[in-house]
């Protein structure tokens, strides 16, 4: 295992006061139900939280309180503390802010990314335009595109990369979509995982296989044998299962396995490796559940070894598959 894979990754979460930073990471990482985030107090300083993800990825999340006074400190006296050694910045905008308020957000964003490019050149940036539930569905696309252009411009010519811009809301699956993609960018071995999952999907003759991280239910990867266009599907599943998991936790229990069947399909979700759940979906009625379970069990060992980073052995195993 290389040094690089095992070290803490510093992730900054920034944006103005009340944009929803603390709400988001509490829902994703600390299992807070969305309707309880109204009780979250304002963040009065920088709150550091560490998460272990998929076993060997350690994230050190800096939730930077967004009051103006604090922002000014981040840009001046605390600049090197905040902006050094950053791997990822997640910058949050409030979609509801327009006019001068939006300009103010853009200016703060520009100062933030400029400081970042000076102290951590090469860091990657994700932008979330949050609280999209407040915008009428018919207007979402236009609002997004307008704001997207403005935001992107502010990072022009800087030595950092804006990886992606997402519209999000804690009230639907868009939150899972954004955060799934953010963590996918950080997982060591993600390519090996993808390849293995693809091979597995073919062996199982399933139409779809999805790998979820166990505690957050974020999507690590998915593979489908037939290309389908419903891109939010897995994020919706993350959201649903996570909601159910929260209810289970009230009874001190956890989900072990879920099956849902009807005449036309079977969906099977099960604990997989130490840090993941796997989901298989198939429509072929001649497939036996027992055969699926056998395949899953078999693949478990293979995948455990990826997480142990036994990469070479794994590549060998994958290549041997027909």
């Amino acid at each position: 295992m290389s040094q690089n894979e095992n070290k803490m990754k510093k992730m900054l979460l920034m944006g103005q006061h009340k944009v929803g930073k603390t709400s988001m990471h509490s829902i994703i990482f600390a299992n807070t139900p969305p309707n309880q985030v109204m009780q979250i107090g304002l963040t009065v300083d920088v709150n550091q939280n560490s998460f272990k993800f998929m076993g060997n990825l350690k994230i050190n999340l800096w939730d930077c309180g967004g009051q103006d006074k604090l922002l000014q400190e981040y840009f001046t006296t605390q600049k090197s503390t905040i902006f050094s050694n950053v791997e990822v910045l997640i910058y949050v905008f409030d979609v509801d802010k327009e006019g001068d308020l939006f300009i103010k957000e853009l200016n703060d964003f520009k100062t933030t990314v400029t400081s970042l490019s000076e102290c951590s050149p090469g860091a990657i940036v994700f932008v979330l335009i949050h609280k999209f539930d407040k915008i009428k569905e018919s207007e979402r696309k236009i609002v997004f595109e307008r704001k997207y252009k403005e935001i992107i411009q502010r990072a022009d010519g800087l030595n950092i990369e804006i990886k992606d811009v997402f519209s999000t809301s804690i009230w639907d699956e868009t939150l899972y979509k954004a955060w799934s993609q953010i963590v996918q960018n950080l997982i060591p071995n993600i390519n090996v995982i993808k390849e293995s999952l693809k091979a597995f999907c073919q062996t199982c003759s399933c139409e779809e296989v999805v790998l979820f991280e166990k505690s957050t239910f974020l999507i690590i990867d998915f593979q489908e044998t037939t290309e389908k266009k419903d891109i939010q599907k897995y994020e919706r599943l993350s959201n649903i299962i996570k909601q159910f998991k929260l209810t289970c936790m009230k009874t001190q229990a956890n989900i072990q396995a879920i099956t849902v069947k009807s005449e036309k399909f079977t969906v099977y979700i099960d604990e997989f490796t130490e840090n993941t759940f796997i989901m298989l979906a198939y429509t072929d009625p001649s497939i036996y559940p027992a055969a699926i379970s056998h395949n899953v069990h078999h693949a478990q060992k293979l995948f455990e070894s990826i997480q142990g980073s036994d990469t070479d052995k794994l590549k060998y195993l994958i290549q041997r598959k027909p």
Binding site: W171, I255, Q256, I258
Partner: protein, 305 residues
């Protein structure tokens, strides 16, 4: 048939929120954006293919002193009234007086109408001490108001609810079961189903509203109810992603505490959800056989009706 429900309560007490969330699938966070109800609104409720009734929501400004209002006809068909009182809006004088007036008005038009009071907005984050204090206060105020008007012979059932947990579904279900003539017969059927399959608890749900129409005679645990009603969301959402709702729909969720939730579609819109120890799920075909027995029994009950 006199099986309708009327709902009263001061403005902003939470009537529309409950109706919209249960019957029109409004998302809970959107209830913050609801406009006040200014005139009586009626909602037609169809649960499965056998249960139909109306809910009349009266505006919080509805004048109960008017002796000949056009809404009298609606009141006459009601066999139940739900009065919603906002537990977070102290003092309660006005709400309590309005309750008394509502009871008087409705009883005059429909003498056998049952009175149910929802002590609402008792949210999960309120401390137990505070909660108990509030409940006692409200119940005392109501009973004082009723006796002051020589109405203490009237029975009022209390229900503690909040839209932020499952209490509103639980109590709305319990109230609606009062107008279903066959909840008892279904209970007997469920008891025998449970016995044959070593099941601990079963609920018969209408899945779109997530109201339960009947349950067995075992003790009611609200966490069980919560798990079962949330399982409906999982089932519906997954089904809608991969196919469509049909009569063959079923689901199982295995939990780490050794229990397993079993979801079986009974017929259109009606599903049976049971909790059992997974070690008791030895023979799936036994379950299949018994669920068929249950379906037939249920069909009988609905036919008699």
């Amino acid at each position: 048939m006199n099986n309708d429900i009327c709902m009263f309560g001061l403005t902003k007490s939470g009537k529309t929120s409950m109706i919209r969330v249960i019957f029109q699938k409004l998302e809970i966070f959107r209830t913050f954006q609801l406009d006040p109800t200014n005139r009586m609104e009626s909602v037609t409720v169809n649960l499965g293919s056998h249960i139909h009734f109306k809910i009349y929501e009266f505006s919080g400004h509805y004048d109960l002193n008017d002796s000949q209002p056009p809404e009298i006809a609606a009141m006459e068909t009601c066999s139940l009234m739900i009065y919603v009182i906002d537990s977070q809006a102290e003092p309660f004088n006005e709400a309590v007086q309005y309750l008394r007036q509502a009871i008087q008005t409705v009883k005059q038009r429909s003498p056998h109408c049952e009175c149910h009071c929802f002590i609402h907005k008792v949210d999960p984050d309120i401390e137990d001490n505070k909660k108990n204090e509030l409940l006692q206060q409200i119940q005392k105020d109501i009973s004082d108001e009723l006796s002051k008007n020589s109405m203490n012979y009237i029975k009022v059932d209390f229900h503690v609810t909040s839209i932020f947990d499952h209490s509103y579904l639980e109590h709305f279900s319990k109230v609606i079961q009062r107008i279903l003539p066959y909840s008892q017969s279904i209970q007997t059927l469920l008891d025998s189903f449970n016995l044959s399959c070593k099941i601990e608890k079963s609920f018969l749900f209408e899945i779109y509203s997530k109201l339960y129409l009947a349950s067995d005679s075992q003790h009611f645990h609200s966490t069980n109810f919560q798990l079962c009603s949330e399982m409906i969301d999982v089932f519906i959402d997954v089904t809608c992603i991969y196919g469509k709702l049909d009569d063959a729909g079923q689901s199982q969720i295995k939990l780490s505490d050794g229990s397993i939730l079993i979801y079986q579609t009974v017929n259109e819109g009606i599903s049976l959800i049971s909790i059992m120890k997974s070690e008791n799920l030895e023979r799936p075909f036994l379950l299949e056989y018994n669920i068929n027995q249950f379906r037939q029994g249920l069909a009988q009950i609905f036919k008699i009706k």
